[in-house]
Point group: C2
Chain length 247, copies 2
């Protein structure tokens, strides 16, 4: 008997933004392998399951990617129903593609359960539409964890042509702001999920507080011009959920 | 007594990819205003509600955007709980930002319930990770409905620097392929949700079948090099769901 692996998107943090399918897969799971930033509330939805934390914790070595592959494959071969629970969407950063490839190569049946990505949800919950008629007819999503990841893309983005969303970009915020300004972006605002809004020039000196050095979402673009008006009136529960947004 | 409006993302089509929060809002709703491409199955989740179709149908005039605003505001002022059900995510195209602004300006309490966007889910369900280590460290999402919407953005995207996702781009597929090739993209593959994969040069002559002239998702980029291997092994229920992916 062979088990089954579900690569499941946990959404942006609020357990309420899990999909119906993801909730059902958790309820049926024998084993859940979960990342950092996955809300503890989500694990309560998997009462039958063994739960392994396989994410990165500050100052501790992360579980090797190959170990995660091995754990999934081994459990599936033993007939287990495995949920690999990933923040946001499984294929938006976070190496979900590599995990899918490893499962395909091992001949283990698997599926992908897309989730609500923070790339769109974190801005939305702060009142920022990533697209808006007359302001942005598209958006680009990059990872801010290293210059190598974002610079080749942001170097080519024409100023004010679309909305720029940077995930995991708080640690590099000064470098990102400087890069965009050198490319001709001017006076663009960049809010955090805790609704800081300002200019690129001010971004470097913002203090996002402890525990938020690398996670968090930056948004740059003309859409910020409508965000303040939307965010002011948006209902508090939704706005609060934005502070969980990670990926 | 004032009601409340929820701008709700319906996800990419499969009712199972609705969020828990969206399902609860539908269950409590007095009025649901829904778009084309929203699955009929989703409306069954709103047994108490009046349901108004406000989307576009082939050869029929669409309900004016201002009329949608007026319907939401009027119902909320009468104390109703209104769900504005939008395909995919409410802030990814589809004028959700304008609806949020209209509600804010009318002083009606509202919230945004993010949904799973087809920009990420349609590729994922076809086995395509929009990001993949070594292949794409970011992605850009554009609307393919008119050249004015996508050309200014795609003109500036450096070839092979990231994944390009075009929503509602099937009708313009020849023009989009030609634009990308003129910008230096070579031999890039473009699969549909029905898993057609080929080169940009071949894209113009593809017949996507009836009813799919304008909706549908195009994906261009290096990530296609892993997609075939993932898609081959991915479990059928997930792959089937991709054919619903719209936004």
């Amino acid at each position: 008997m062979t088990g089954f692996v579900s690569l499941v998107g946990a959404g942006p943090g609020d357990p309420d933004l899990l999909t119906l399918k993801a909730a059902r897969r958790l309820g049926e799971a024998d084993l859940v392998l979960y990342d950092a930033l996955v809300s503890p509330g989500l694990l309560d939805l998997a009462p039958r399951a063994q739960r392994f934390f396989v994410g990165k914790r500050a100052r501790k070595k992360a579980v090797a990617q190959e170990t995660i592959h091995w754990l999934m494959v081994r459990a599936a071969r033993r007939g287990k129903r495995v949920v690999r629970l990933k923040c946001g969407d499984p294929f938006v950063f976070g190496r979900g593609g590599e995990e899918a490839l490893a499962l395909a190569r091992a001949g283990v049946p698997f599926e992908v359960v897309p989730g609500v990505s923070s790339a769109v949800a974190a801005p939305a919950l702060a009142g920022i539409p990533v697209t808006h008629r007359g302001l942005a007819s598209g958006f680009v999503v990059v990872s801010g964890h290293s210059e190598k990841a974002y610079a080749p893309i942001l170097d080519f983005v024409a100023p004010h042509s679309l909305t720029v969303v940077v995930l995991m970009g708080l640690a590099q915020r000064a470098a990102i702001a400087s890069l965009l300004m050198s490319r001709g972006w001017r006076a663009a605002s960049t809010p955090q999920s805790e609704t800081w809004t300002g200019t690129l020039a001010e971004l470097a000196s913002v203090d996002p507080g402890p525990d938020s050095e690398s996670a968090g979402t930056l948004v740059v673009g003309e859409v910020l011009s409508v965000a303040a008006e939307i965010a002011q009136k948006i209902s508090p529960p939704a706005a609060v959920a934005a502070s969980h947004g990670q990926k």
